[in-house]
């Protein structure tokens, strides 16, 4: 008998509150996901855009400070504002992005706090909507498909449900896994950017001018996390083969967005304008069909949360996301119970 073998002994330690067993499921999911080299690479890549956006904040603050200094000396000449020149440069380059009209409008007012708030919101919205949303697609595609399908395949369900764990706790624990990774590549970089921007601003008065932005970042995170995790886990629960779930995940995004791009192409041909022309992008047909793309729906929700679209403009995307999430959660709940 080995020297360290003390035989069987009763367990003296107290057990944790049963409210936190989902945490064990989440922890092990994160631990297993981090074994993938690709997940680590995407995590690293997700922080690269931060440097680009940080540089953007630097130039914005530089322009605003220049405007403030010139206003102190000789009063405000709205046509000479550096920030106006900057936003005009942005709007000409990114004319099809949502919110550019708001940027132009606010730049002409000369109201520095308002300009700062709007430009910061717009930059963070584009950060969420463009580089990070695409990275989320890949990151969740690598992590989520195996989360439930592998439990079905290896019959690990019996290991979970013979313990004091409910179906909801199991699902919650699993949903937390992609959610944590999404938070790590969206919320944390976005909050870091906000702090960088604050540090670049001239004084602490910037904080009350932009207090709403961290709230918007957190709400936007929920807007990203819940639908994407629900869809990914629902697909994972439908099969024993994680590669099928993986393929379905990319297919859901690719087919929806591909169909919408086809509509954009058809509309541009019909209107005789170049593809992605602002007139094409803002046409009624393209707007009406944008909800068939999950990417557009998430984008629409982000625009609404960051205040660049009204509910009337983004309701299609929001309703579609709500429907997709509800449907996915229902299927997921039913599938998790079926192996019993």
């Amino acid at each position: 008998m080995p020297i360290n073998d003390v035989g069987y002994r009763s367990l003296k330690s107290k057990t944790e509150s049963s409210l936190f067993q989902w945490l064990a499921i989440c922890r092990i999911g994160v631990q297993l996901a981090l074994k993938s080299k690709w997940v680590k690479r995407i995590m690293l890549a997700a922080w690269l855009p931060v440097t680009y956006w940080a540089a953007g904040f630097f130039f914005v603050e530089k322009a605003i400070v220049a405007d403030q200094l010139s206003a102190m000396g000789q009063g405000v000449d709205l046509n000479q504002l550096t920030s106006l020149a900057l936003t005009e440069s942005i709007t000409s380059r990114f004319s099809i992005f949502p919110g550019v009209d708001d940027l132009q409008e606010v730049s002409r007012t000369g109201d520095i706090p308002q300009i700062r708030n709007t430009v910061w919101r717009w930059m963070l919205m584009t950060f969420f909507r463009y580089p990070q949303a695409i990275l989320i697609l890949f990151l969740v595609g690598f992590i989520a498909p195996s989360l439930i399908s592998q439990d079905i395949r290896s019959r690990a369900f019996l290991l979970y449900f013979s313990r004091p764990i409910s179906r909801l706790e199991y699902i919650f624990g699993k949903i937390c896994v992609p959610s944590i990774f999404i938070i790590l590549i969206t919320t944390l970089p976005a909050l870091s950017l906000y702090i960088i921007a604050l540090l670049m601003s001239p004084d602490i008065s910037t904080l009350p001018q932009t207090w709403d932005i961290p709230m918007r970042i957190i709400i936007a995170t929920f807007g990203l996390v819940i639908p994407t995790s629900a869809v990914a886990l629902m697909l994972s629960s439908l099969t024993q083969e994680s590669r099928f779930a993986n393929f379905s995940w990319f297919a859901v995004w690719g087919l929806g967005h591909g169909a919408w791009l086809t509509i954009v192409l058809a509309t541009s041909l019909q209107m005789g304008l170049p593809l992605f022309d602002p007139q094409v992008m803002h046409s009624e047909t393209v707007s009406n069909w944008s909800a068939i793309s999950l990417y557009n729906c998430l984008g629409s929700l982000q625009s609404y949360i960051f205040g660049f679209e009204t509910f009337a403009e983004s309701w299609r995307g929001i309703v579609a996301l709500f429907g997709i999430t509800t449907f996915s959660m229902t299927i997921l709940y039913r599938r998790v119970s079926s192996p019993m």
Partner: protein, 312 residues
Amino acid sequence: MTSLISLKQITKSFKSLRALDGIDLEVSPGITGLLGPNGAGKSTLIKMLLGLVQPTTGTASFLGFDVRKEGRQIRNRIGYMPEDDCYISGLSGVSAVQFSGCLSGIPKTESLRRAHEILDFCDMKQERYRMVDTYSTGMRQIIKFASAIVHDPEFLILDEPTSGLDPEEREKLLKRIRLLASQMGKSVLISTHILPDVQAICDDVVILSQGKVRLCEPLVTLNRTAEPSFRVRVLENMDPFVKALESSDVEVSKNPDGTLTVASPSPQLSETIWNAAHQSGVSIQSLIPARNSLEEVFLSTVADAGGTGEND
């Protein structure tokens, strides 16, 4: 003695199939063997005890908790070793056992300490650091057993615990189960097709067939024959000895292993056997009280119930 499991008129139907059909069962502390042919309802019964499936009708209590409403409390107090080859891919053996502890509410660090302690008890050495995916069936069985006991449950439900184990490992596992029951006061329900396992460690036997409890008796009672009988082995030709016995008005039957089973309601049966040996001039090599084999009991019970009695 209080019953740990008490089932009253339990039925469980899946659409047209009645998996459990009006079961009444009381299980006392100790080691109980759950036997039955395939499709008898053993797995359904176990899942019902775990609170994973709800009975259609009837009342059931397990460790004093209502199976219908208090599944969580039940699962907090029991350890379950499933029959299926189930594991969490990508974890090492020790991590898998630690994770099972965490799922039962043991804090992470304590769970790791406990996992090592239990794997030592299960005689698993450095292999514990290998991925479970690379384990043989026998090693996975040990990990499942370790996961079932890591949280020190009051009651163990073991579904085919020795399947896939080599004879040495099988013997060790049965020894561990016996130790848990005798020294640590655990109660165990073993569902198995391997009758010698039941014969080796169980106190009570429950036989299920076609969704009904056909037999629920202590093993010692089952082993007892209907009338006094002996198993006799003689050194020489047994034919004159058999004739002498038959002339003494006792029942004699030849067994495939070359022994004779001699039965009679007479209290002087052993004296009669010795007299017959003396008369026929044979030497008795062994004379032991005959016992019913569990296999005979199982087959006759299942046959009486109209089942096939197939026991793979």
